[in-house]
Symmetry: C2
Amino acid sequence: MADRSPTSRPGGRTARVRADVHGAVQSLLRDQSVAELTIAQIAERSGVHLGTLYRRWGSLDGILLDVVTERLSQSSPMPDTGTLGEDLREYARQAASDLAGPEGKLLLRTLVAVRLGNDEAGLPPALSRRFDELGELLDRAAARGENPPTVQEVFEVVIAPLVAGLLFDTQPQGPKAVDHLLDRLDRITGQG
Amino acid sequence: MADRSPTSRPGGRTARVRADVHGAVQSLLRDQSVAELTIAQIAERSGVHLGTLYRRWGSLDGILLDVVTERLSQSSPMPDTGTLGEDLREYARQAASDLAGPEGKLLLRTLVAVRLGNDEAGLPPALSRRFDELGELLDRAAARGENPPTVQEVFEVVIAPLVAGLLFDTQPQGPKAVDHLLDRLDRITGQG
C-alpha cells in the first residue's frame, strides 16, 4: 500500500499512516522478536516511506513506544466503577501489572530511549492522552462530590514508585504492591 | 597491561581489574562520546580480556552503569550535616541535580538496558552500596534520637518521583523540585 494512496479511512491521511504503521508493527511482531525489528521492515510492510517514519516518530524506539502505549491503553482502559477509591485501586493494580509485564518493560525501554537519547523528545501523544484520561477519571469523582487527588499526586505517589521500583529493583512488583501506595495517597489527600 | 599481571594494587585482582576498566572508560570518554564507545575499545585500553568484561559486567551498558554510579557516588557523597532534615534536603537536591544532568541520564539509560534488557540483571553493587549509604545516613539520625523514615520511604516518596518525572516529562526537574517531596516525606513520617 502506497504512502499516498487515496483511501478514505476515517481521520484523514495522518491517522491512516499511523494505522498502517501500527498494523505493520503488530504483524511483524507476530513472526519475530522486538530485538530483531528494523525501521526498514516497518517501511516495507506498511508502505510508508522511511523518511515519513523518521519525520513523524524520530526513530524505531519512537514507533515502538507509540505502538505499545496504544496497545496498553486498549487492553487496560481507564476504570469507571462509580467510586474514586475503586477506580484508583483498579487503575493502580492494572498499571502495576502492565509495567511488570513484557509490554510495560518495552514501554519503559523505548520511553527512556526517546526521552534520554540524543533527541530528548517530549512525551508522545499516546502517553499524554493516558494522563488526560486519568484526569477525566478524577474529574468524574469531583463531579460526584468526592475529593480526588490531582493527576500529579497520583503520578508521584502511586505510579512513580512502581516505575522506579522496577528500575532500581527495590520492591516486589505486581498488583499487590500498590496497596500501601494507595493508602499513602489517601492520607495525603485526607480521605483515609 | 595484561589481565593477569601480578601488580600489588590494594584490593586484589578483582579490585585491580575494576580499577583498570574504570580508568580505561574515563580515559576513552575524554576523546569520544559515550555513543561511540565499544566494549572492544575498553578491552584494548584496559588490557582486560573481552571475555572477562562480559563475564563480570554482562555488557557495555553494565560497564557504563558501574562507572557512572561510581562517579556520581564520588562527586556527590552522602551529606552528614548533623541533622536529619538538612541531610535529607541536601541528599534530595543533589540527587535531583545529578539525575537531570548528563551523568544521571546515562545512569538511567544504562540501568534500563541492564534491568529491562535480555538479561534482566539485578542491581549492580555500586548502586546497592548507594542505598546502604542512605541507610547509614538514616541510622545516624536514629542514633541522635531523631525519627527517620526508612530507605524505602525516601526512595518511594522522594527519589521515585524524580526518576519517573524525568522519564514521563511530568514536572520541572532540578534541585527546587524536591521541596514538596520532602514536605510530603515529613508529613508521612510525622515530623512536619
